[in-house]
Symmetry: C3
Subunit: 138 residues, 3 copies
């Protein structure tokens, strides 16, 4: 069994943002030389998400509006977590969108359906945060 591990770094310019990171994950896979196995991609911070969906800007605007409806950022005082912090909503939003994805590696490639793309979902940004890419296989 081979294993490969790399941290990716992101610093968004706004509080909430979705970044397509499929190319970075693909480069990790090439670097690993692994042809059969599993890739785990996870946010290392608990106010961010890694998820798979469509790379379409209208949909991303829908996600933003929908998550704000399900778990609004303001007023900050509505959350017990917000004393020294102001990011309780980010913890809740990330719970909806998920911490991680596991993707199959087949024949040296990410074994994806037609529109699958990997996203980093930032819900408390404007600072440097990390994503872990772990690949195991052969």
């Amino acid at each position: 069994m081979k294993s490969f591990c790399k941290e990716l770094f992101f610093c968004t310019s706004s509080r909430r943002e979705f970044l397509c990171i499929t190319p970075e994950v693909r480069r990790c896979l090439e670097e690993s030389g692994i042809r059969e196995g599993l890739v785990l991609v996870n946010a290392m911070h608990i106010t961010a998400s890694v998820f798979i969906n469509d790379n379409e800007s209208g949909l991303h605007a829908d996600f933003e509006r929908w998550l704000e409806k399900l778990a609004p950022e303001k007023p900050h005082s509505q959350y017990a977590h917000n004393g020294a912090e102001d990011n309780a909503d980010a913890h809740l939003k990330r719970s909806v969108m998920g911490r991680e994805v596991v993707v199959a590696v087949t024949g040296g490639r990410l074994d994806f359906g037609p529109w699958e793309e990997i996203f980093y979902g930032e819900f408390d940004g404007m600072r440097r945060k990390r994503v872990l890419v772990k690949i195991v296989g052969e």
Copy 2:
């Protein structure tokens, strides 16, 4: 390390539907001959879900009602994604229910609790769509 990969195909007769796919996944596991490891089962489409829950029709009716409350299909015009498309709600519903499950394989069997069953959750159906089963182990 051994690895096994198979695509399952589903075409539901209605827009939204839940299909129990545990038997199909179990057949993949038998076919693979793998006795210790992990099974990844994921939707290959971004408007569908694979999740684990109870095989009980009342609960499935509750899921349908609840997901329609959290992310209603109509009016289609409420979503920026819906221009050429009409399935923005399906992307949101699938985000709640999840893209994938990872299941332990122990002694050649899906290592499940008493009521765990794997479901394909279709949110934009009436066409042929795929689920990936990837098994790695020994």
Copy 3:
């Protein structure tokens, strides 16, 4: 490839509760002797969750309030699943929070970001329930 499997047991004193189980998972990893690979931690019951977030009591109170808003327990009669059962809300809450986490093992340690902790999320407690820890790697 090595594999390791252990069931953890929990019995909460209230219907809903969050328990930090990182120490138990860490002990499993030490016991396994695996230094590179993946850990799967999943609820074996469909009314409970395993998730990763912050070990902060204010946030946990926010989770409780938020989940009760998204999928209220009462009135029990609002759910088709609730005839003999009264726990439909627990199935929905667990769907939001997720069944499982997959964590990278690097250099014999859980490869975690600064605040990541693993939680058992109980939504229908006061009875003995199980969590599965499966580790594969080398």
